[in-house]
């Protein structure tokens, strides 16, 4: 196990997992001194009937102060301000965030406003501006991927001022994350596949990037083992409760790993593809993950080879010579993408070139790759990537990921 010269690690979120984890919410809130939460969610989640399941699990034991089920897909300031007012007017004293990353971020934003009694969120942006615990926040993720139930960051868009505000504070961490298999049972196969690959990319990047530390390592390894053993299976058998719970656990474990070690070029590129072309994050992660391994391989051969143990299992690991292990890891992830492609009837994409929008056009047109590369150059994740990347490097990786071709190792400039 590695012990870096220095590291920091923290995950204060209480993890509550199980097929009946939701039932613990009233007690959790009571212990936090709260009795009337605002339920923050979005239309999709409510439409899938998850609000109903949650309410039923609460029964008489918890009164929900108000339900806000109109969080936009990209958390924005308008929603935060509006829902903070709803929180106050409904006499709430805590928050339950039920949904994916955007719902979590919105709830964190609301929590800043209602706890600090402020009306201008911008005042609290950046790092270190929050000094006190906020109102109790319970996170109930409805996808198994983002890990935002255990992260200390919130990103909120200010459409008027055309700003993306980032908030970073340990006080933004939810008090508890509820991992309940019922919340992901109805997740469609392609989303299950993409979000699962997002979780895998968190764990894998956490394991080989520069911020790796012993606790991000052990949580990442546990996550990878769970994903390797369950992702394909839940895509085939969506109603497998055990598999769903395993994936929810994996996503939280991977979230703990990467929020402490940070991620690298796979996320830098993925964020850029997302912001330029609007592709879902998990889709980008699935496509780009093998390239992160290939690109950084010369700097991280031994560390990457260890990943074969949780991915391929001890037997394959034992039978593979150390110098061949990284290659097997990369091949395994590519194969996983192929298998997910087959299991979703072709809806899980393996390279950018095969993604089409409703009109049948390329969703990420090749001519936009330069713009994507330029955007990625400004992404913070590059700080944590083992090998350096300039514009040309990013473009080279994007070209390969567009075609679905492995990287030409001769073209990787090794520092």
């Amino acid at each position: 196990m590695c012990l870096p010269g220095y590291y920091e690690y923290s995950c204060r979120v209480k993890i509550v997992a199980g097929h009946d984890a939701l039932e613990r919410i009233p007690d959790l809130l009571r212990r936090l001194g709260a009795r009337r939460p605002l339920l923050v969610t979005d239309r999709g989640v409510a439409g899938a009937g998850l609000v109903g399941i949650l309410r039923e699990a609460m029964g008489e034991r918890l009164e929900i102060g108000a339900v806000a089920d109109d969080v936009p897909p990209d958390s924005d300031l308008e929603a935060v301000n509006r829902l903070a007012v709803l929180y106050r007017e409904s006499g709430c004293d805590a928050l339950i965030a039920l949904g994916g990353g955007s719902v979590m971020d919105t709830a964190k934003g609301i929590n800043i406003l209602v706890s600090e009694r402020g009306d201008d969120l911008l005042k609290f942006s950046g790092a270190g501006t929050l000094k006190r615990p906020l109102k109790p926040l319970i996170a109930v993720p409805t996808t198994a991927g983002t890990g935002s139930e255990v992260t200390l960051v919130a990103v909120i868009k200010d459409r008027q001022r055309r700003l993306k505000m980032a908030f970073v504070s340990y006080f933004l961490l939810p008090d508890a994350a509820i991992l309940d298999s019922r919340m992901t049972l109805s997740l469609p196969a392609p989303i299950t596949a993409a979000t699962g690959m997002d979780a895998l990319s968190h764990a894998v990047e956490a394991y080989y990037c520069l911020g790796k530390n012993p606790l991000s390592d052990v949580t990442a390894l546990a996550a990878i083992r769970l994903i390797g053993g369950n992702l394909l299976n839940v895509v085939h058998n969506p109603s497998d409760r055990e598999g769903r719970l395993a994936m929810a656990n994996a996503a939280a474990l991977a979230g703990m790993a990467f929020s402490n070690s940070m991620v690298g070029m796979v996320h830098a590129l993925g964020h850029a593809v997302g912001s330029v072309c609007g592709l879902p994050h998990g889709v980008c992660m699935a496509i780009l993950l093998p390239y992160g391994l290939e690109y950084n391989r010369h700097k991280r051969e031994a560390v990457m080879g260890e990943l074969l143990f949780p991915i391929g299992g001890p037997e394959i690991y034992g039978k593979t010579a150390p110098e061949d292990r990284t290659g097997r890891v990369i091949a395994y992830i590519r194969q996983l993408n192929e298998d997910l492609h087959a299991a979703t009837g072709g809806r899980h994409a393996r390279f950018f070139g095969e993604i089409r929008d409703r009109e049948g056009n390329h969703a990420a047109p090749r001519r936009r790759l330069p713009e994507i590369a330029r955007t990625a150059l400004g992404d913070g994740a590059i700080f944590y990537n083992p090998e350096d990347l300039d514009y040309d490097d990013l473009l080279m990786v994007l070209e390969a990921a567009w075609e679905g071709m492995p990287l030409d190792s001769g073209r990787i400039r090794k520092g």
Partner: protein, 177 residues
């Protein structure tokens, strides 16, 4: 409680002076590099008009500030961040962390991975500033040290590197505007 003692906050004047000197030198070297090195110049050109950033040591300095004038010229703007409008503040959490960086025991990448810095401002700007710092370090430091300070040591033509290095050193020491 006879064994109780109060320890007043002390100071580390020598380490402080060293880091202050390094910051001053790096600040002036950036100013010089912006004119001498094409890539550094382009990085600055791409930053917003009037852009200014600081590299500071918490809790109370030392610091350095570099910014663009209205005419786009890059200038070292001293060591007092208080009261200035800064687009980006990169704060090293403490003097010892700064010392690790400025004695080249930790590269910028390592320091970032080790949470030694707090970045206040837009991330793309911080990325640009770190790219500038990396480039300036390659000019200022002998190859054997710079190789540890940056992720990938560039393969620039050596004549050009030496010529630029001399101009940047001269600029930093003499403070050419």
């Amino acid at each position: 409680m006879e064994s109780f003692r109060e320890i007043p906050a002390g100071g580390k004047p020598v380490k402080r002076a060293y880091v202050a000197l390094m910051l001053w030198f790096v600040g002036r070297a950036i100013q010089a590099a912006a004119r001498v090195d094409e890539a550094v110049g382009e990085e600055f050109a791409a930053l917003p008009e009037g852009f200014a950033f600081s590299l500071e040591v918490l809790p109370g300095g030392p610091a350095m500030i570099v910014g663009k004038d209205e005419d786009g010229r890059v200038r070292y703007r001293g060591w007092r961040p208080a009261g200035r409008r800064l687009d980006l503040r990169m704060k090293i959490k403490n003097l010892e962390g700064a010392l690790l960086m400025f004695t080249f025991q930790e590269s910028t990448a390592t320091a970032t991975a080790r949470d030694r810095l707090i970045v206040d401002g837009e991330v793309p700007a911080a990325r640009a500033v770190v790219r500038i710092l990396d480039r300036v370090e390659v000019y200022l430091l002998p190859k054997i040290v710079a190789k540890l300070a940056v992720k990938r040591y560039p393969d620039w033509p050596w004549q050009e590197k030496i010529a630029n290095r001399l101009r940047i050193y001269a600029g930093a020491i003499l403070g050419f505007p």
